[in-house]
Symmetry: C2
Subunit: 218 residues, 2 copies
Amino acid sequence: MPLRLLIADNERLFRQSLRKLLEGTRDIRVVAEAADGQEAVLKAQSTQPDIALLDVRMPKMDGIKAAKLMASLVPKIKILMLSIHDDDEKIISALRAGAMGYILKDADQKDFLDILRNAYLGKTHASPYLANLTISRRPGQPRTAEDRKGQFIEKYNLTEQELKILHLLAEGLSNEEMSRMVNLSRETIKMHLKALFRKLQVKNRTEAAVLAVREIVG
Amino acid sequence: MPLRLLIADNERLFRQSLRKLLEGTRDIRVVAEAADGQEAVLKAQSTQPDIALLDVRMPKMDGIKAAKLMASLVPKIKILMLSIHDDDEKIISALRAGAMGYILKDADQKDFLDILRNAYLGKTHASPYLANLTISRRPGQPRTAEDRKGQFIEKYNLTEQELKILHLLAEGLSNEEMSRMVNLSRETIKMHLKALFRKLQVKNRTEAAVLAVREIVG
DNA sequence: CTTAAAACCACCCGTTCGGGGAATTGACAG
DNA sequence: CTGTCAATTCCCCGAACGGGTGGTTTTAAG
């Protein structure tokens, strides 16, 4: 089966030329495109790609935040960040947000494909000859994060759904935005929030978000 | 000049007997009492005591949160936490919240007075003979925290007032609660919040609180 | 003294929250 | 098939939020 890829970049031209480039391969298939962060998260959930290629700078929601949300909403997805600058301080943020690697936009096509395939295979380190590319592995949190999540759930008796909502809340999303993000009605979101406030013993979303940041999302 | 003390505990009897006990001394004067966390923070600002003695468990706002707010609103105040349990996990929270020490409620009177006086002098370690007391120093953050604060202010071009409001926000307070806390009108709070949202480039209080937790209050 | 910036307060207004009750659906055990 | 339990959705409604405009006072700088 081919590598199923999602491309998120605000420039249609870039997306399409990338798609064109990848049509020349037999093992990589673009299953979704997104023009902004929100759309990217939504499509990641609906199409369940193997890898999401996210531009750091995007309208509505930047790539960092989108990466965080994807990591919690589509746990098995592999994320690669795209950017123009290599010394961007956002590299760190991206990697901490769950990204496996970081690709410069002016990378050589061949190197680019190599990175995609390596990421698919779980290889998180950059090959030594990929000199003009910055790539690094996800911090050793995947398992640890799972554990923290589990402990958190049982500590407060949360359901999976509630935890998911809590992640969204910690990104500062409104009820409306959350509802679109997980494809539920605002009312359902509200109900989950009520349950969360009760279980976490807080009295509003701000306190809940702060608690979430301190205890799980970091 | 005597040591000016604030006592915060929900039990009036406890407060009064403690006051009685301290009247027997010449160097310690109780300048304020509070029955809950909110009142404690308010009186700490108005009376500017040297030391605040906070019960961990209080109505409206617990001692931990009160300690955090005091630390940011009345920087030079020294905080001692009171509790019944010694193995309370809240001890860590208290110390991280800015408390200098932790006193058990069944402590010997003499030891209790010693701790008060030592805290006043800046001695943060427990004397070895205070066996049934748990006391520990404030983590080495006072200077570091100041630095972080300064960097944060210049990074986002914040004013002192705005930073103060941000601290309150990060505790999940409503505009109304903040206004009472710093003795300003709700409208003024709203104005500072608007400025904060703009400068931090966030679009609501939740995002602002999350950012604050990540970058300053930890 | 003048100007500018910060801080403070107020009113209007639309949106969002958050709590309450109640109806619907789906899954699953009895 | 049926009870029932959890998840979802809708409606109502008061409170809180967030944006805009306008105005006064205080502070600092020129």
